[in-house]
Amino acid sequence: MTQPLPAGTVVRVKLDWPELRGPVHIRTPHYLRGRRGTVVRYLGEFPNPEDIAFNRPPDLLPLYHVSFEPHTLWPSGVSGDEVLVEIYGSWLQLEGA
């Protein structure tokens, strides 16, 4: 991902559970795995906390504000509310790609 994803890009958070593969430090909340969202803004590049947490040399990763529709996350989610979460680009897939 050389160019940052522009605002409005529809993405899907990877349906992945690194927790099952050993000790990890993950900044992507469980309730977003596999969920569809929309990029709101690119926040810049940051060293990957998944590496820093284990004292490994970190990759630089793009970080985004991604917006999700609450009713797609929870049965009681209210349409019109907004769930806005910071997510690293390594967790995002282009929807439909």
Partner: protein
């Protein structure tokens, strides 16, 4: 483990048994249970732990990310029993022992009650 891939079909996220115990955002129990959002007064222990963490960071001995990883590694039962800054202290201690910044014998000697 079952997961719905269709975002139009929400599932109760508590059904996901692989969620790490500290990853508590969005779980359904908080629909029923009030969340304590009041500010808590800091006691001397809390302030000392916070100061220690800042010093360790300034000296390049430990990052905030390592602190968080160490907190998340606390076993579930203990995690929920400890206060916020007690979790920090557990993580700091485990990290410094693992990195060899402090030795277990020295730590035990300090913790030994005076004879």
């Amino acid at each position: 483990m079952t997961m719905h891939d269709d975002p139009a079909q929400p599932v109760l996220t508590t059904d996901v048994s692989v969620r790490a115990h500290h990853d508590m955002g969005g779980i359904s129990k908080y629909i029923c249970e009030p969340i304590d959002t009041k500010p808590h007064a800091l006691d001397a222990f809390d302030r000392e732990v916070d100061a220690l963490r800042q010093l360790l960071s300034a000296k390049g001995l430990m990052t905030v990310d390592e602190l968080r990883r160490g907190i998340e590694a606390i076993p579930e039962g203990t995690y929920h029993r400890l206060t916020y800054y007690q979790r920090w202290m557990r993580s700091i201690t485990a990290t410094l022992l693992r990195k060899g910044v402090i030795a277990e014998a020295d730590l035990l000697a300090v913790l030994q009650p005076p004879a």
